[in-house]
Symmetry: C2
Subunit: 136 residues, 2 copies
């Protein structure tokens, strides 16, 4: 069993500081459409980043275990939030991944990234589908 | 409809840079138990922070709408990940909130924070229960 702990302090107005022991603080506020400053991370951004980064680290772990070397990995992730009868809800989350490997390993790398989706604990903690596209 | 987009670039080994346009980058790597450096944020930390920060901003919004002034707000959030037959899974997420207000508003503030849980889009995106405790 592993536990992950963060702390949060309200810093006035609609801002706060999210902390995780020994790591750099993250200043947060609401999205601009809810009155926030575009220069700060929002909870919605953090959720999208959590999924995107977990997919990459899980993919790197699978690639490493399968001894597949990659030369680059980049992704773009987008979460969609909509007004529903129950209130604001995330309705979709998509991650577009571009992974590069030597020609002989390209197909294996693509499969490994798709496999990562199955194991990624963050995307598995969501009740919305995570749509993955992988290009090599 | 609102969308939230982040990008991620692998920076070698088991590290990456999570970016959100116009905001400070966040360096990420796996938890120490999976070979990461304790000085960097992990996807697991980001997920816990996403829930914790969303609860606070939703609570501030409810408090503001109800014209309840608070004097301080702090919280600590912990996510628990366990090995299951399906692989590593988050099994619990708890958030302990301490909110302070003038004596006459304490009860109202506590109720407003509990109400926030119902509306928080990030905790509503999870398939695990978010356990909230509020002290005033």
């Amino acid at each position: 069993m592993s536990t992950y702990t963060t702390t949060l302090t309200w810093t006035g107005g609609n801002t706060g500081t999210s902390s995780c022991a020994g790591k750099p603080d993250i200043a947060i506020n609401p999205p601009t459409e809810f009155g926030g400053d575009a220069a700060l991370w929002t909870p919605e951004d953090l959720l999208v980043s959590a999924v995107e980064t977990c997919l990459m680290l899980t993919a790197l772990s699978v690639l490493n275990r399968q001894k597949i070397a990659i030369t680059s990995y980049r992704s773009t992730a987008t979460g969609t939030m909509e007004k529903t009868p129950q209130g604001l809800r995330f309705t979709a989350l998509s991650v577009a991944i571009e992974v590069r490997a030597a020609e002989a390993d390209r197909e294996k790398a693509e499969k490994a990234v798709h496999l990562a989706e199955k194991y990624c604990p963050v995307s598995n903690a969501l009740n919305i589908p995570v749509q993955l596209t992988v290009t090599t």
